[in-house]
């Protein structure tokens, strides 16, 4: 504490000495993230990313000639805390915008507070409910479950299939993605011939897969993350089902391949470009952004990059760009600039927002990968 105060003292003295460059008040950007708790594997890289890039932006001269001051609270994954911190960001910290909200639940809890205060909010969570229906001041950076379903179904059709057997977890992510998949299936000419579920923590899904086997399904789609998909993948191979298996972007981490073992060979999944940064063709618009972020993050944080930190990067950069375009930190003006975002290349995809689309991503944001020889192979 003492040392910090000393550093602060020296810094303010230095500030006084350097004169008018940063005489203006800093721009306060707020954030509430699930740095601890069950969603910490999402929140931790997000926090690191925000801190890392705010430091870099400030070192490069800040925004509108002003420094950025970041105020981060840890909601521990609790929606009640998220709402409290959102209120604190608005009332005591008086931030101009918020980039945060690790989970769909924490984001939804904070939205009413931030909307009331007319403060632009860029959420880092996946749920489509955040931007549908569109709320005037709420945006988000990650792709949605619905897009994952559409990407999978697109690939299924490409391979000449149309009958899908769904198997999903009854909890959270799996349940939400299942609903989205069931909803978009008819639009994509897909027939869901089986819709099986399992509870989180279930250790055997052969009864469910056995039913799918008898349903005439041409492919299997599994919506879940964590250990469930690994068990489903192993069970599919155990039963000797020769039909293609699709997993969701929820398994897009190396640990899935380790857990599922040889059974994972040939599994396809939609995922963000980050996972295959090096494999992207040189003319891919995202290649430079994704590689830059990956190298910067990995060299400073000494840990492998994740797509989640990338969502925070995209959120911060979108906001900085909007503040610069608006030439002001006024909530309504920044919101208008955010809404007018066109052709922003982030780690999650190319963003084109509009008054009716506060996410701005299309299916090209997802890449189709296949697991080959124990690693990801970019298909397209």
């Amino acid at each position: 504490m003492n040392r910090r105060r000393l550093v602060f003292g020296v810094a303010s003295a230095a500030l006084l000495a350097t004169g008018p460059t940063f005489a203006a008040e800093p721009i306060k950007i707020g954030s509430f993230l699930s740095v601890t708790g069950p969603a910490s594997f999402l929140g931790d890289p997000e926090k690191r990313t925000l801190e890392l890039y705010v430091e870099r932006i400030n070192a490069a001269g800040g925004v509108l000639g002003r420094k950025i001051e970041l105020v981060i609270y840890d909601d521990g994954g609790d929606a009640n805390n998220a709402r409290t911190f959102a209120t604190r960001l608005v009332e005591s910290d008086k931030v101009v915008a918020v980039v945060g909200g690790t989970t769909t639940a924490t984001s939804l809890a904070a939205i009413p507070v931030l909307e009331d205060a007319q403060i632009p909010f860029i959420s880092l969570a996946g749920g489509i409910e955040i931007v549908e229906p569109v709320k005037p001041f709420t945006f988000k950076t990650p792709h949605t479950d619905k897009m994952a379903c559409e990407k999978i179904f697109e690939d299924v059709k490409k391979r000449g299939f149309s009958k899908v057997g769904m198997i999903s977890s009854t909890a959270g992510f799996g349940a939400s993605m299942r609903n989205q998949c069931l909803k978009v299936a008819p639009e994509r000419g897909i027939q869901i011939v089986a819709d099986e579920r399992y509870a989180p923590g279930d250790t055997d899904t052969t009864p469910q897969l056995n039913k799918i086997k008898g349903s005439g399904a041409e492919v299997i789609v599994n919506a879940d993350f964590g250990q469930g998909p690994a068990i489903v993948t192993r069970n599919v191979r155990q039963l000797g089902l020769e039909i293609p298996l699709y997993q969701s972007h929820g398994v897009a981490s190396k640990s899935f391949i380790d857990l599922a073992g040889p059974a994972a060979e040939g599994v396809r999944l939609p995922a963000a470009a980050m996972l295959v940064a090096e494999q992207l063709p040189d003319d891919d618009p995202q290649k430079k952004v994704v590689l830059d972020y990956k190298i910067t993050y990995e060299s400073t944080q000494k840990q492998p990059v994740s797509t989640f930190g990338g969502h925070a990067y995209d959120g911060l950069m979108l906001l900085v760009r909007a503040i610069e375009k608006a030439g002001s930190t006024d909530g309504v003006k920044v919101r208008d600039a955010l809404r007018a975002t066109k052709g922003f290349v982030g780690t999650g995809g190319v963003v084109n927002m509009s008054p009716t689309d506060h996410m701005g991503l299309d299916l090209s944001a997802f890449r189709m990968l296949e697991i080959r020889n124990g690693t990801w192979k970019l298909l397209y």
Partner: protein, 290 residues
């Protein structure tokens, strides 16, 4: 036919794990009337310690032995540090103590190990074999054979050794057992050690199929407890029957009725059984003497 066999093996394999957890509940309940909700953590320790010891380069049998030793030590410590000092407290208090202990063990495991899921290689290969058209993992047979061996060993111990008789005597009447010179404290410590060992062996056997993480104990404790209640708590045979029935109920409900409601179906059946037979399938009717 193929489907029937497939569901049967799925149910029996899952059920065998529930049975082992239920058996652990039963042993400690017999000796002390305490329902030890840390029972699931022994299963977790069995799996997790084996995984990490194996990753560190130990051969699998040695890693498994180490895991059992760790679980038994944990069981004894739980008895010595948490149950023993609270002697004389009501049974409800002791049950709450075990819930606290389970949270503590989980928390420590999360720090010592990590929060990821882990797998073990199957003991004798991953290639399923065909039985009447169903595909069965060799590891399933390991689980079933292991569970059967444990049940048989426990029966031998209970019926054929003096120590086993002492455990039975303590279960029947604690005061009378003390009067004939049985060290009931030792018996209780033994119950914790044996329960922990059974749980750990179960964890080691199933990890190649089910994967493991620091948090797998909670749901197993819940299912194992349901199995123990279904079979009649306090009856080792009942625990095994309860576990297998619960596993089969889940598998057949998922395969034949609806996978969405499979847990619901299983628990509904348990409720109905307990309504008709409050003492469980094989439990003795409890008689309170006034």
């Amino acid at each position: 036919m193929a489907e029937l066999v497939q569901l049967l093996f799925a149910g029996l394999t899952t059920g065998a794990v529930y049975a082992l957890v239920a058996l652990g509940f039963t042993l400690i309940f017999q000796a002390s009337e305490v329902v030890n909700f840390a029972q699931g953590e022994f299963v977790m320790l069995g799996g997790m310690v084996t995984v990490f010891a194996f990753k560190a380069g130990l051969p699998l049998p040695l890693a498994a032995a180490l895991a059992i030793a760790v679980a038994v030590t944990t069981g004894l410590l739980l008895h010595r540090l948490a149950i023993e000092p609270a002697k004389g407290a009501t049974v409800v208090t002791l049950i709450i103590v075990t819930i606290g202990a389970s949270i503590l063990i989980r928390g420590i495991a999360q720090i010592v190990f990590d929060k990821q899921f882990h797998a073990l290689p199957a003991f004798t290969g991953d290639e399923p074999f065909r039985l009447l058209g169903a595909a069965i993992l060799p590891q399933s047979l390991w689980v079933l054979a292991g569970a059967a061996a444990i049940v048989f060993g426990l029966w031998l111990f209970m019926e054929r050794t003096l120590l086993g008789k002492a455990v039975q005597a303590t279960a029947a009447n604690r005061l009378a057992a003390e009067l004939v010179g049985i060290d009931t404290r030792l018996v209780l410590a033994l119950a914790f050690a044996v329960s922990a060992a059974i749980g750990a062996v179960g964890g080691i056997l199933v990890t190649p199929i089910t994967l493991t993480s620091y948090a797998v104990g909670t749901i197993l404790a819940l299912k194992g407890f349901a199995a123990a209640m279904l079979g009649g708590i306090g009856n080792p045979v009942g625990a095994v029957v309860g576990g297998l029935v619960l596993g089969l109920l889940e598998a057949f409900a998922a395969g034949w009725i609806s996978s969405t409601y499979k847990d619901g179906v299983a628990f509904l059946v348990i409720l109905l059984v307990l309504l008709a037979m409050p003492q469980g399938l094989l439990g003795r009717r409890a008689v309170e003497r006034v």
